[in-house]
Amino acid sequence: MNDRPARPRVRPSVRLCAPAIVPLWVLLAVACGGGPQPGAVVPAADSAAAAAGRDSVAAAARRDSVAALAQLDSVAAAARADSLARTARETARADSVRAQVQADATAEPTLVLSGLDSASTAELSAVIRFDLDRSDLTDASVAALDRKLRILQANPRLEIQIAGHCDERGSDEYNLALGSRRAAAAKRYLVEHGISEGRIGIVSYGEERPLDPGGTEEAWARNRRDEFAVTARAR
């Protein structure tokens, strides 16, 4: 969804009528006698038709501003509803975390189909890599994030979760914080380029979910990554 409030749009009927209204009351003024001085525009204050014309202009303007206000109201209402919905979702999620703790729930998070075509899905879920012990984005990562950015912009209802991962070297606990930083770095890039914060969740798995359990440099490079998963469909 587009963040910026919509500009009130001028109703087309007023735009079309405006050039017509001016010559109309000029004609009326001439017809009733006492036409305007050449080059001067004088309001025909005593003409009922002119008054009617003016009234219709005013009415149109009033209708316009009412419509504009209604538009603003609905945008504000939508934003409020959005944030209420988000708060409700967060509260529900917190409640479910507490329930899951009691229930020995070890189920995987539910994967959601993106509702996109296969090329976009592949692009969106492509992994980005990191250097050893670093959370800053490489050039390749920035290019990949730009492609994801376009998909996110084109599908305003799409929501994703970024998961940060590390290779097995380094402290187990520190790697959880490093994974969090890696996910946050990717999120920050997307948010800085206009994606609403509420559309992107982050999580860290540290070294707990390696892609490649082999203890080689190649395996470690594959494990230092951010993964992207869809959490709310495009449509």
Binding site: D104, D172, E208
Partner: protein, 448 residues
């Protein structure tokens, strides 16, 4: 170690002289044999040694008598192993000619092998499951302490023997041993526990998988850990007896790691991570409310808090200067400063700090040439000492005696838990299977 053998030679020389003396004294002392034991029973609060003068730098030589009554062999084996693991004694192989159970020990034989102390076991008349543990001063040739160990053959049997071993250590050194303790650790994403002698390996049910960073409360009745559940990574406090679980408030969202209880059990420190970085928070456990923030990350990470003994200082890891290093601060977050100075170029990341129970040392692991090794820092002098060298060694946790440290090591080729005695340098393996991580040593436990 050579101390035992040297002592043997020294004792040989003394034995002749002492034999004459003790034979003469035996007549007079015979009637007083019971009295010293009773007098020793009124121990002043600080504990007292059993009246033996030790040469500084050596340890008393101890032998656990064989030839005990049938059925006490397993008790004897457990006891001997516990006393060995305390690293407070030179364990001497018992001489080969055991007397009959119930006989008074022949002190000359034990003196001949260089023992200072003798531990004997006897059944208790009329009670099939109770065992009496006796401590003899070999040089003086007398029984000095005895204690009855109830339920030694029953379900709580191992634990009763562990507690007896800890008592023996207390009689001799003034401070109890650590045989009646357990360790929690993580393997394959699940929580496990093991006794300090390596027995009793059992899973501990937890809220999610993986479960990481277990830690004990100082009453031994609660643990805290971080669990991955479907919708989050909360910190959970779990009652070991009832299994009841409580989610620490504010940990229903975000990354939550490295919990540790304060020594008085009133507070739990942990680290909470968001997009803005990871910071240290404190939860008022006793009051069941009120989470406060101690560090301001500004996009750095602050994690792994460990409490000082009086609850007034917290040491932790911070990346505010780049690589993770060891800092400390007041328990309200004020006055943070670097604690362990590191050698630029020589050592790298520091992680996994653990403050010793007596407050005098901090153990942690630090990268040396790309491989983590266990270090200990002396709080008073800030001197840092490297304790390990072979393989990868990390995540140290202190035993309640403040001289043993359990840590993860790959020195044998698999990733296992090992126990190190900081004073003597002796190392022993604790677990056998591959993949143990993140150990946490319990306080002394009254019951298993």
């Amino acid at each position: 170690m050579s101390a035992g053998r040297g002592r043997g030679r020294e004792n040989d020389a003394l034995t002749a002289g002492r034999a004459a003396l003790s034979l003469a004294a035996a007549a007079c002392f015979g009637c007083l044999a019971v009295a010293p034991a009773r007098a020793q029973d009124s121990i002043p609060p600080g504990g007292v040694r059993v009246g033996i003068t030790y040469t500084p730098g050596t340890r008393p030589a101890l032998v656990v008598a064989t030839g005990t009554a049938a059925g006490l062999d397993s008790v004897r084996a457990i006891l001997e192993r516990d006393l060995d693991h305390s690293d407070q004694f030179e364990l001497i192989t018992p001489p080969g000619a055991p007397g009959r159970p119930g006989d008074a020990p022949d002190y000359r034989v034990y003196r001949a092998v260089g023992a200072d102390l003798l531990v004997g076991l006897a059944t208790v008349e009329g009670r099939s499951d109770a065992v009496e543990v006796q401590l003899h001063d070999v040089r003086r040739g007398s029984l000095v302490r005895r204690a009855s160990v109830a339920d030694a053959g029953g379900a709580g049997g191992r634990w009763a023997v562990h507690r007896a071993a800890d008592e023996i250590v207390r009689w001799v050194t003034g401070r109890p041993g650590i045989a009646a303790t357990r360790l929690l650790f993580v393997q394959n994403g699940r929580l496990w526990r093991v006794d300090a002698d390596g027995a009793g390996l059992a899973p501990v049910p937890s809220a999610g998988r993986p479960t990481l960073s277990p830690t004990w409360s100082s009453d031994g009745r609660h643990i805290a850990y971080m669990a991955f559940v479907r919708s989050g990574q909360p910190i959970v406090i779990q009652d070991l007896q009832s299994g009841e679980r409580e989610v620490v408030p504010t940990t229903e969202y975000g990354l939550n790691i490295t919990p540790e209880f304060s020594r008085d059990g009133a507070r739990l420190a942990f680290a909470h991570g968001t997009e803005a970085g990871t910071d240290i928070f404190v939860y008022e456990v006793a009051r069941r409310c009120c989470v406060s923030r101690l560090t301001v990350g500004r996009f750095s990470d602050n994690l792994s808090p460990t409490w000082g003994p009086d609850g007034r200082r917290i040491a932790y890891i911070s990346t505010r200067a780049g690589t993770p290093q060891l800092y400390w601060m007041d328990a309200d977050g004020s006055d943070p400063e670097v604690l362990a100075r590191f050698d630029f170029g020589a050592t790298g990341q520091t992680n996994g700090p653990s403050w010793s129970p007596d407050g005098q040392s901090l153990a942690f692991h630090r990268d040396v040439g790309g491989t983590p090794q266990v270090f200990v820092l002396d709080v008073a002098t800030r001197a840092v000492r490297q304790l390990t060298g072979t393989g990868r060694n990390e995540d140290p946790t202190w035993a309640p005696d403040g001289r043993h440290v359990c840590f993860v090591s790959t020195r044998s080729g698999t990733r296992q838990l090992w126990v190190l005695d900081v004073e003597t340098g002796r190392v022993r393996p604790l677990t056998a299977s591959d993949g143990a991580r993140l150990p946490a040593w319990s306080p002394r436990l009254a019951s298993p």
